[in-house]
Amino acid sequence: VIRNILVGYDASEAAARALAFAVGLARAFGSAVHVLAVVRPPKFSGMVETEAVIEQSRQHHHKVLRTVQSKYAHEPFKTHVHIAVGHPAETNRVLCRGSWNRSHRRGSSRAHAI
């Protein structure tokens, strides 16, 4: 049984396909879908610019994820959306591991990331 499915989402075409796949699985198994967007800080930013870029990215992702959440609001499975700041691959890995740790403690199966 798949209880949790984690989808990294950046509103790209590939991300949309991954989300559609996750939704299909969630319908089949009754899993919860976690949609994660990651704000990546700029590498070479100037004074005060870093915080401005992050704040703007957060707002953008918030808008995008709200659309996703409302799209699947009437589905039988639960959709959770998350925004994190960091490195996309690392954040996906860590969130998945965190979910696995929680699930493992409860004696259930691990979370799956897409």
């Binding site: 590498k43 070479f44 610019e49 401005a52 860590v94 969130l95 591991r97």
Partner: protein, 413 residues
């Protein structure tokens, strides 16, 4: 071209403003395409534009010495510095102040004396120019360090918090050095010190109450009040022979716990700063760089850059070892703290404006400052990223958690 433009003074002013904003737009597009800091892009665009325009249409076309351009440029530096100071997290600072102060002081002292020695003994600059080079190269880029810490989740670790707080201490010392080393130390200095200290003590009490009573209206009372304080203290500082960014940074720091948390106000000030003011500052700073002088004598640029990186290594590396940081983490910290851009540029421009350094020396300092904003970060991320920290920090604190609202966000420190 100027003759062709002709007409009234106002027409000339609008056209000149259009030229500067056009350059700012080009710089912004370049920064988007190349993914570099807007400030860095503006400096480079200013340098290249001055070279091209100077060669084709005359060196005076950008009118860098016009009073209104100097005013916008100076205001840009002041407000940007204020915003930078307001980003300080007082809570983190209070918990990590001992370690942060040690690393911050060493991070300032080592390159300050190191680059002063390099400028004096290697480049044979005079004493005042050498001190100025030391000040300009002593800075560290909080923005670069902050971004890297955020990207790898280190900002939530004790290590990351200490380094970020240390960067503020480092920059504060740079600004203090700039404000006082070249100050004549007369009764005016005492008056500035006394007046500014009184304001710094009073502001955290007065400002939130004043804003609560009269703020939050379309008349933008908050912005007017802050600009009044910044201009007033800036005037007092320059009257005493000091530098206006010194009180601006300190005002930002003392208001970090109050005004700094008002995101809507900070956002509005950022729009004013990035949209109008700082392009004038950085393009002007870039336009004063002489590329021919830089090409003719590249030793100054190279020596200062290497001097900064080496002296930071000599200073910061042992300091991190005092706190038993593993070697890779220590080198990474050292390299991140070798970055710097805005305060370095501000120091160089101060030196040029006050006749402390020549145009050629200014060019070498700004080029070294620009390179120091990029080179250490590249080396640090390519070879010394402490991956074990990612593992430990992330395992102790998941990167994102579900909030009751449905949207979870890891707040930055």
């Amino acid at each position: 071209l100027e003759r062709a433009l002709g007409g009234t003074v106002l027409t000339e002013t609008w056209l000149l403003a259009a030229l500067w904003l056009g350059l700012a737009l080009v710089a912004t597009l370049l920064s988007i395409w190349l993914r570099v800091a807007t400030a860095l892009s503006e400096i480079v665009v200013g340098t290249v534009a001055q070279l091209i325009i100077g060669a084709t249409l005359g060196t005076a076309l950008l009118h860098t010495e016009d009073s209104w351009i100097k005013f916008l440029s100076g205001t840009g530096a002041i407000v940007l510095t204020f915003l930078a100071g307001a980003e300080l997290d007082p809570v983190v600072f209070r918990t990590q102040w001992k370690e942060a102060t040690l690393i911050g002081v060493v991070g300032f002292v080592a390159p300050f004396f190191g680059c002063t020695v390099v400028a004096y003994w290697v480049l044979h600059w005079d004493v005042r120019a050498s001190w100025l080079a030391g000040v300009a190269m002593s800075t560290t880029s909080v923005a670069v360090v902050y971004a890297v810490m955020l990207e790898f989740g280190l900002n939530v670790t004790k290590y990351g918090k200490t380094i970020l707080a240390a960067c503020f201490i480092n920059d504060l010392l740079t600004v203090l050095a700039l404000g006082f080393i070249f100050s004549p130390f007369t009764w005016k200095t005492g008056a500035f010190f006394g007046g500014a200290s009184t304001v710094f003590v009073a502001l955290p009490f007065i400002t939130p109450r004043f804003f609560k009573r009269y703020g939050g209206r379309p008349s933008e009372l908050e912005a007017k009040f802050l600009l009044l304080v910044l201009f007033g203290l800036g005037g007092l500082a320059t009257w005493s022979g000091s530098e206006a960014v010194l009180p601006a940074y300190l005002v930002g720091m003392v208001l970090a716990g109050t005004v700094g948390k008002d995101h809507a106000l900070i956002r509005r000030l950022r729009t004013l700063t990035f949209g109008l003011l700082t392009p004038f500052y950085f393009i002007r700073a870039g336009s004063l760089v002489s590329l021919p002088a830089l090409v003719a004598a590249p030793l100054g640029f190279v020596a200062l850059l290497l001097g900064k990186m080496l002296s930071k290594c000599i200073g910061v590396y042992p300091a991190t070892k005092v706190f038993r940081a593993p070697t890779q983490e220590a080198i990474y910290t050292t390299l991140l703290m070798s970055t710097g851009l805005t305060f370095g540029t501000i120091s160089a421009l101060f030196g040029l404006a006050h006749g402390v350094i020549t145009r050629a020396q200014y060019s070498a300092v700004v080029a070294a400052v620009v390179a120091s904003a990029v080179v250490p970060t590249l080396i640090a991320n390519a070879f010394f990223l402490p991956r074990h920290l990612l593992k430990s920090s992330n395992e102790s604190e998941p990167a994102a958690s579900t909030a009751s609202s449905g949207v979870a966000a890891r707040r930055v420190s």
